[in-house]
Amino acid sequence: MPRTIILLDPAHGGPDSGARFSDQLLEKDLTLSFAAILRASLSTGGFTVIATRDTDPTVLFTADQRAEIANHAHPSACLVLHATSSGNGIHIVTSALTPPGEATGASDPDTPHAPAPWQDAQAAFIPQSLRLANEIGLALLRAKLPVILTQSSIHPLDNLICPAVAIEIAPLATDGSDPIPAADLTYQHTITQAIVIALTSWRTHNTTAAGASR
């Protein structure tokens, strides 16, 4: 079986620190450490993993640069990793762009090599991204974690030419005690395991679909 390439994008980095959880903990550091955990688990599961960054860059690492790295790698799936102190559970976000078939005046979706505008590059992959989001959401629900599926206009999600979702880790509300923070390692490991299960299922479905089409 060919190895499936998964692209991880730990969001923010360098002068862009993202959300501030405390004086010592920034979103850019949390996403990087979570990406390292996820990368190890995915590699063990037989995936080839590429990351847009493995360290904290010294200069600004723009969303366009991240999208360029991702699009040149031609991955099977792109996971953009975020964290927040607002909300509850895991937020799985897909692009809010309209798929070409639904957009009025959009280019013909039957034209396979039609150039995609940079700002709307993700539009053609929306159906696959929604399926991927649903697959990851189901696996997280089975792991007894609250999941919210939403759509939003964020970069570099809108610029990716692969099935892409943003996974935002929010604190986990518990009955009668303080919420479990996004930085909790046990919480992160549970999320990681669910994502690996979801991507394994995603790979199986894609392989089956590809076989059936032949």
């Binding site: 937020h91 697959e135 939003s152 206009s153 929010a170």
Partner: protein, 221 residues
């Protein structure tokens, strides 16, 4: 016998004392009036009575990522751009109240709302309408919580509320302190032109059946 010049001097001094006393009393009265006026919180002019109307505020909830139209009785100006600004200030200030489901910091939020006429475009089947340019305060953006969902909920809440109250608005753009700004607080795109649509939403959980169309929440603009 008191000499005449001493009597004149006496009465002159007495007259001077009385004049100075009157001058001091007058000065004290004026100072008292000034101080009283500065402490008086009564409006200079009585407020004009404006009738209230039913307006739906599209209120966001961080816990379930929902946006719910909530009817409220508000007194709003009639001039459209002033009306839009007052409406957004009312919406965003409601998030600063204790117990808010989408807590934001209190303080000034919207500087201006500009409404620009937009001609229709036959190629994209877009009807003529108005472009609303919302100029947010830098202090509001700097204090906004950071996160994809929480930022998106604020934007969708603004869009839904404006669309409900001013249906002539078809597109919405954002500025921060009069300048284009890339994101609200690091995530949601503020350079994007948003379509003004009904943003009421209640996300549904993932579904096991192989129907991707059922797997997501109501599409957003």
């Amino acid at each position: 016998m008191i000499p005449r010049y001493q009597r004149i001097l006496f009465w002159s001094l007495l007259g001077g004392i009385l004049l100075m006393a009157a001058f001091l009393l007058r000065g004290c009265e004026q100072a008292h009036k000034r101080l009283t006026a500065s402490l008086d919180a009564t409006p200079i002019a009585a407020p004009t009575t404006t009738s209230t109307e039913d307006i739906s505020l599209y209120l966001a909830n961080d816990a379930d990522a929902s946006i719910t139209p909530t009817p409220q009785h508000l007194a709003l100006p009639q001039e459209p751009s002033v009306r839009a600004r007052a409406l957004l200030q009312q919406l965003l200030s409601s998030y600063a109240l204790p117990g808010s489901a989408h807590p934001l910091q209190s303080g000034p939020t919207v500087d201006d709302v500009f409404l620009l006429a937009q001609p229709g475009n036959p190629s994209t089947a877009s009807a003529p309408g108005q472009l609303a340019v919302i100029n947010l305060r830098g202090s509001f953006v700097n204090s906004h919580p950071s996160g994809i969902q929480v930022e998106d909920l604020t934007i969708q809440s603004i869009i839904g509320t404006l669309h409900g109250a001013l249906p002539q608005i078809t597109q919405i753009r954002f500025l921060v302190d009069g300048q284009p700004h890339d994101t609200l607080a690091g995530h949601a795109d503020l350079l994007h032109t948003y379509r003004a649509v009904d943003t009421a939403i209640r996300p549904t959980p993932p579904e096991a059946e192989n129907n991707p169309d059922n797997a997501t929440a109501t599409p957003k603009p």
